[in-house]
């Protein structure tokens, strides 16, 4: 258990310590305290670099001191021969003796006490981003006005998040702009426009001054835009490095401004506005658009009508037109529908005749019916040609959709009657 103080004595102290001894002590004081270790007696076999017998002081795996020989106090008013102060709360002391002590050595006597450390000043690393306050056994961080302490209890930042911009036009700037922006902050903004508008951000190059990227190109401070489907940035540097106009294709945009502890610059200022989402006019084959406009925007509805001989098939239903709406994402609804050639199917068979099987039965295909000649002939001359029409039926110029009729040829015997009578 950590203790506030303690005593460490070599084996048999104040008698001579034995040969071949290795003994160690692990010292621990409460968190937030350092250790003051001091020796009041040292009588250990002397050797060069204390190679034979020694007492070692080890902190964090590093030997902080090694003692041997006979030492006396340097001050007549103080019993302390050697002393050490460590800003850590753990320490190891190791006593070692070898096998051959020709003389009698009594070892050492040492004492330790927990001492307060100043975390704010005793370490190279600064424990607080802004103000450090030391107290006995610990420290706490505090922040300047308008800053708040992050959950890590060490870093202060500015509460700059949460603004939601819904107006169709607006201006957003970094905190304090054009004065230096706060360090160690993360500012998140949202632009949320009504559906059908895309956020367009415009930035003047000179309105942007953010700590530039390091040698590896990483931005220590950065401005980043994120829409539904894409991200713009992170940007940093003096002068806006991105496009001066950013069309997001989205009605919402997130803006994140992240800063670190160092190098505050002027910051940035941007303008935005809502631009009606437009849908590109698509080239749809074999169809016409009504109304036919150069530009279509959100909620525009067009009627797409197939040209003659083409149709739209949805499941088992076909029609000659369909409607498409410009959607909030800039895409057309029903974009999967297409005008395809009308299909007439296999032509119906007829009695006493036949029809050639077409390679395909789509609009414009021509088939011919024939009768079983010479016993049948077609009732209507030129009535054998049928064309796959726009209405999906096989149509003849004369008969329309009526099928041709093969009627028997009359009065023609296969063989004439040869009369032999007188």
């Amino acid at each position: 258990e950590p203790t506030m103080h303690g005593e460490i004595l070599s084996p048999n102290y104040p008698q001579a310590y034995p040969n071949d001894v290795v003994k160690s002590w692990d010292i621990e004081v409460p968190e937030g305290f350092g250790i003051h270790l001091y020796f009041t007696h040292v009588d250990i076999e002397p050797s060069e670099s204390c190679a034979y017998d020694s007492v070692q002081i080890i902190s964090g795996g590093i030997e902080e001191g090694r003692l041997c020989g006979q030492k006396t106090s340097k001050s007549p008013n103080s019993p302390i021969i050697e002393e050490f102060q460590f800003p850590y709360n753990k320490l190891q002391v190791v006593f070692t003796s070898d096998f051959s002590n020709e003389e009698r050595f009594t070892g050492f006597a040492a004492y330790y006490t927990a001492i307060d450390i100043n975390e704010c000043t005793d370490f190279t690393d600064v424990p607080c981003s802004h103000f450090c306050n030391n107290f006995i056994g610990g420290y706490f961080c505090s922040c300047p006005p308008e800053y708040f302490l992050h959950d890590d209890m060490r870093n202060c930042g500015v509460n700059c998040s949460g603004d939601v911009f819904t107006a169709l036009i607006g201006e957003i700037s970094s905190p304090n702009y054009p004065n230096p922006y706060p360090e160690n902050s993360r500012c998140e903004y949202q632009i949320q426009l009504q559906e059908g508008f895309q956020v367009v951000v415009t930035m003047q190059r000179e309105d942007f001054d953010v700590e530039p990227a390091d040698s590896e190109g990483n931005c220590p401070d950065s401005l980043t835009f994120a829409s539904k489907n894409q991200q713009f940035g992170p940007y940093c540097g003096n002068g806006f490095p991105g496009p001066l106009t950013i069309r997001t294709q989205s009605n919402t945009l997130g803006i994140v401004f992240q800063t670190d502890l160092m190098g505050q610059k002027k910051g940035w200022k941007l303008r935005y506005h809502g631009d009606p989402i437009s849908c590109a006019k698509k080239i749809t084959a074999n169809s016409t658009w009504e109304p036919d406009k150069a530009k279509y925007v959100f909620k525009d509805v067009v009627k797409i009508t197939c040209v003659d001989g083409f149709e739209v098939v949805e499941g088992h239903v076909s029609s000659t037109s369909y409607y498409s709406t410009c959607q909030s994402d800039g895409q057309w609804s029903n974009s999967g529908l297409k005008c395809q050639p009308v299909y007439c199917g296999i032509p119906d068979p007829i009695a006493n005749g036949k029809v050639e099987e077409p390679e395909n039965s789509v609009f414009g295909t021509v088939v011919h019916y024939t009768c079983e000649e010479p016993y049948y002939y077609m009732e209507h001359e030129e009535g054998g040609e049928y064309r796959c029409a726009a209405n999906g039926r096989w149509v003849n110029d004369q008969l329309g959709i009526e099928l041709p009729r093969c009627i028997p040829a009359c009065g023609v015997p296969t063989e004439p009657f040869q009369v032999h009578q007188r």
Binding site: Y375, L403, P408, C410, G411, V412, T414, F417, Q421
Partner: protein, 251 residues
């Protein structure tokens, strides 16, 4: 057929064989057979075949059987109880409607109907073809089809033929303009040929084809001159009957 010769069915593919009573008919399209009224006087469901030269019973199995749907006897045909004493054959014409369409081919095809123009009026001396399985000089009936070519003659010629039947008074016979008289000595139609076509070539066509100018009707004595129903006079009735009774097309 008196004075005729063997014929092939390919010579007369419109020839319809009526089994009982033995008679003939003329196929005029897929669904209709034209015949004499007196053939159907006693039967309503005639047994008919087409496409066969021989009417031997075993060979009829290879012929195309026709099934009648309905029989239409000319409304002006006068029914009589005793056909043996009949002297009035005026309007001796009838139609048989078939249940199923006849499949045409080299042995089966219809004969044309006469047109209504004067070109279709037959005159004495015009030659026409008759055919049938009826009596010959030697046999009451024949197995194989026979045919003959006979000239049209005046109706008076038929009147002058001496009557054989003692039960009938010669002056009782009725002769009308609905009849054609044809024949020459020894060449004639006879019993069993009734209803068959008296076929003439269609006038003024490049490809020869035949139309039914008459139907074998009656005669006083076989082998002299026979009387044929003049079909031209009934074309309107034929067309009207067929039109009014044609059901919905099966094709």
């Amino acid at each position: 057929i008196f004075g005729g010769q063997p014929a092939k069915i390919e010579n007369f593919p419109w020839q319809v064989f009526f089994n009982h009573p033995r008679a003939s008919g003329a196929l005029i399209n897929e669904y209709w057979v034209l015949t004499a009224a007196h053939v159907l006087e006693k039967i309503s469901d005639p047994l008919m075949y087409v496409g066969t030269m021989s009417v031997r019973t075993t060979l009829l199995e290879n012929a195309q059987r026709l099934y009648s749907k309905r029989v239409f006897i000319h409304p002006s045909w006068k029914k009589e109880d005793d056909p043996n004493t009949r002297t009035n054959f005026d309007n001796d014409i009838a139609l048989v409607q078939l249940k199923d369409p006849v499949k045409m081919g080299p042995k089966v095809s219809p004969i044309c109907l006469p047109g209504t123009s004067s070109e279709y009026n037959v005159s004495p001396g015009d030659m026409g073809l008759i055919s049938g399985w009826g009596s010959t000089e030697k046999k009451v009936f024949v197995i194989n089809l026979r045919g003959a070519k006979v000239p049209v003659t005046s109706l008076e010629t038929c009147k002058q033929v001496k009557e054989e039947n003692p039960t009938v008074r010669p002056e009782d016979y009725v002769f009308t303009d609905n009849m054609i008289c044809a024949g020459e000595k020894g060449v004639d139609s006879c019993h069993g040929d009734s209803g068959g076509a008296f076929a003439f070539q269609v006038p003024n066509v490049t490809v020869p084809k035949f139309y039914v100018a008459g139907l074998v009707s009656w005669g006083k004595r076989c082998g002299t001159y026979g009387v044929y129903t003049k079909v031209k006079n009934y074309v309107d009735w034929i067309l009207k009957t067929m039109q009014e009774n044609s059901g919905p097309r099966k094709d």
